[in-house]
Amino acid sequence: MDKMDEPEFVLRTKGLTKRYKEQTALRDVDLSIRRGSIYGFIGQNGAGKSTLMKIVAGLASPTSGTVELFGKSGEEDVVRARARIGMTIESPALFPYMTAYENMEVRRRQKGIRDRTAIDRTLAIVGLQDAGRKLAREFSLGMKQRLDLAIALLGEPELLILDEPTNGLDPMSVVEMRDLLRRLNGESGMTVLISSHILSELHLLATHYGIIHRGRLLEQLTAQELGDKCRQHLHIKVDDPVRAAEVIARELGTTDFEAPEDGSIRLFRYAEEPIRVSSVLAAAGLGIERFNPTGESLESYFVRRIGGAAADE
C-alpha cells in the first residue's frame, strides 16, 4: 500500500470495555492514535493503561467494543495487522537461557525476516552491539529493557507499544531511551504509544496525550493543546469581557489571549506584568472580579484532571 493510502490513524478503539469478575478495567474507551505521533498514555497504577495495551496486542479480549489497527477492524484482519506492531509490555520478555542474539533470532524467525543482519543492526540501535553473545539472564535490568526494546524494534514496526519502558532505568539510560524514540519517530515515522509514570519524561517526548483514570479515557489532546492549557497566563474575570478584550488589544497591543465561554479571559502575554494589566483594565473602568497569574506543569494538570474526574464520580 502506498504511504499516501495509509489511514490517518494507526490505532482506534471504539467503546472498548473490559470487565473482570468484580472489576471494570476499561469503560467505553474511544482512543485514536494518529500516524507518526508519539502518544503519551497517562494514568495511575491500575487506571487501565496496560489492559488497553494488552487488548491491542492481542493478549486479552475486550468484553465489548472494537479495535481498529491500521484501518482494519475485522477480527482476522486485526490479528494480521499485529505483525506491524512491536511491543514491550510490563517486564522484559526474554528467554533467560538464550543469548541476546538468540533472543533476537527467535523473533526474526517468528516474523519471517530473511535478512539476518537486521539482528546486529537492531542491537546496535539500542547500544547492545557488543553484548550479543551474552546470556540474557546475565544482563542488568537496564540491558534487559534495551534488549526487550531491540526485539520489539526488529522488523521496523510501524507502531511501537511501550508500557513503562523506563522502569528501572538509570537517568542516563532514560535520556538515551528518549533520544532513541525521538530518532525512530523522526527518521522512520514510527508511531509510538508509550505509558510512563514519569510525566516529566513524557512531557519531553510526546506529541499527543491520553489521560486515563479508573478505566475511563478522560481526555485526548495534542502537546500544543496541553502546552496552551499549562501555559503561564493571567486568568482574568471582569464584568464586561468583550470590552476587556478590546481594551487589552488596544492598550496592550496583543491578541495573544483566549476568551472562553465562561466569561473569563486567559491572557498569555504580560503574565509577568500583572500590575500593568490590572492598571489598564481599571483605567478603562472595568470591574475586576478575579485576577490571578496561573499556569501549571503536566503533573499538576494531570492531578487536577484526575481530581476533577474523581469529584464527578
Binding site: 490479528v79 499485529r82 511491543m87 509490555i89 528467554f95 538468540e102 517468528q110 520489539a152
Partner: protein, 261 residues
C-alpha cells in the same frame, strides 16, 4: 505458520532441559544395556540368557516409563515457562491467530517428544544387533512368529504415535496450568498414576472399563506384544489418534480463551 514452526524448532534446539532429557535417556539406555548384560549368568566365559529381541522389548518398557517422567518436565520448560518469562506475549502478537500459535507449539513439542522417545529403542536395537553379532548375546532372538525387522518397525511406529498422543495431553496440561512448576508436578502425577486410577475406576464402573481399554496409557504397553490381531492393530492406531485430536482441540480452546499475563 512456517515462521512459527521455524521459531519453535530453534527454541527446542536451544532448550537446555530438552538437551538434558535426551542425554539422560541415552545414558539410561546405555546403563540399562550394561546392567542387563552384566546381570546374566556367565558360563565358561560366555554370558547367556538375553537375546537382542528380549533386550529391545525390555527397553520399550523402560522407554514408556521414562516418557511418563519427561513429558511433564519438557511441557513445563518448553510451554509453561513461556508464560512466566513473558515471551508468550510477544509470540501472541506476531500477527498469527492463537490456533496457529498453539498448533506450532504443540507440533514442535510433539516432535521433540517423538525424537526423545526414539532414543532408547534405537540405541537398544543398534547395540543389541552389534552385541549379538559379536557373540555377547545369545543371538538376535525371535519376536514370536513375526520377522524381527517388521517387529522393530511396528514398535518404533507405535512409539512415535503414542509419544505424539501423550505429548498432546502434556501440552494441554501445560497450557491449562500456565506455570512450569505446576505443570511438571501435575503431569508427573497424572502420567505415573493415571493407569492405576483408570484401573480402579474400571473395577467399579463399567464405563471406565471401556475407557481404560481404549486409553493410550494402557495401549502403550500392548504395542510391545509380539502378536497383534486385526482389532488390536486398529485400536492401537485409532486410540492415540483420537487422543491427539481431542487434546489438541481442548488445548486450542483453552489457549484461545486465556489472557496472557
Amino acid at each position: 505458520m512456517n515462521n512459527l514452526l521455524s521459531a519453535e524448532w530453534y527454541k527446542l534446539r536451544k532448550n537446555g532441559a530438552y538437551s538434558l532429557i535426551c542425554s539422560c535417556i541415552a545414558v539410561m539406555s546405555v546403563l540399562f544395556l550394561t546392567v542387563s548384560y552384566l546381570s546374566t549368568p556367565k558360563i565358561e566365559g560366555y554370558r547367556i540368557g538375553h537375546t537382542a529381541v528380549e533386550l529391545y522389548v525390555n527397553s520399550l518398557t523402560l522407554n514408556s516409563f521414562l516418557m511418563k517422567l519427561y513429558l511433564g518436565i519438557l511441557a513445563g520448560f518448553f510451554i509453561s515457562a513461556e508464560y512466566a518469562a513473558g515471551v508468550l506475549k510477544r509470540t501472541v502478537s506476531v500477527g498469527q491467530g492463537r490456533r496457529q500459535i498453539y498448533l506450532s507449539k504443540l507440533g514442535m513439542f510433539s516432535f521433540g517428544i517423538v525424537l526423545a522417545s526414539l532414543i532408547a529403542p534405537l540405541i537398544t536395537a543398534a547395540a543389541g544387533g552389534v552385541m549379538s553379532a559379536s557373540g555377547l548375546l545369545t543371538g538376535l532372538g525371535h519376536p514370536g512368529n513375526v520377522p524381527a525387522a517388521a517387529y522393530l518397525l511396528r514398535t518404533l511406529g507405535f512409539t512415535v504415535l503414542f509419544a505424539a498422543a501423550l505429548a498432546s495431553v502434556a501440552a494441554f496440561i501445560a497450557v491449562a496450568l500456565a506455570d512450569s512448576g505446576k505443570t511438571i508436578g501435575v503431569a508427573l502425577l497424572f502420567f505415573l498414576f493415571i493407569d492405576q486410577v483408570l484401573m480402579a475406576l474400571a473395577q467399579r464402573y463399567a464405563i471406565f472399563e471401556k475407557v481404560y481399554d481404549l486409553s493410550p496409557f494402557k495401549l502403550l504397553a500392548q504395542t510391545a506384544e509380539f502378536h497383534l490381531n486385526g482389532g488390536d492393530w486398529l485400536t492401537c492406531l485409532f486410540a492415540p489418534m483420537a487422543a491427539i485430536v481431542v487434546f489438541t482441540l481442548l488445548g486450542i480452546s483453552v489457549f484461545q480463551a486465556k489472557e496472557i499475563q
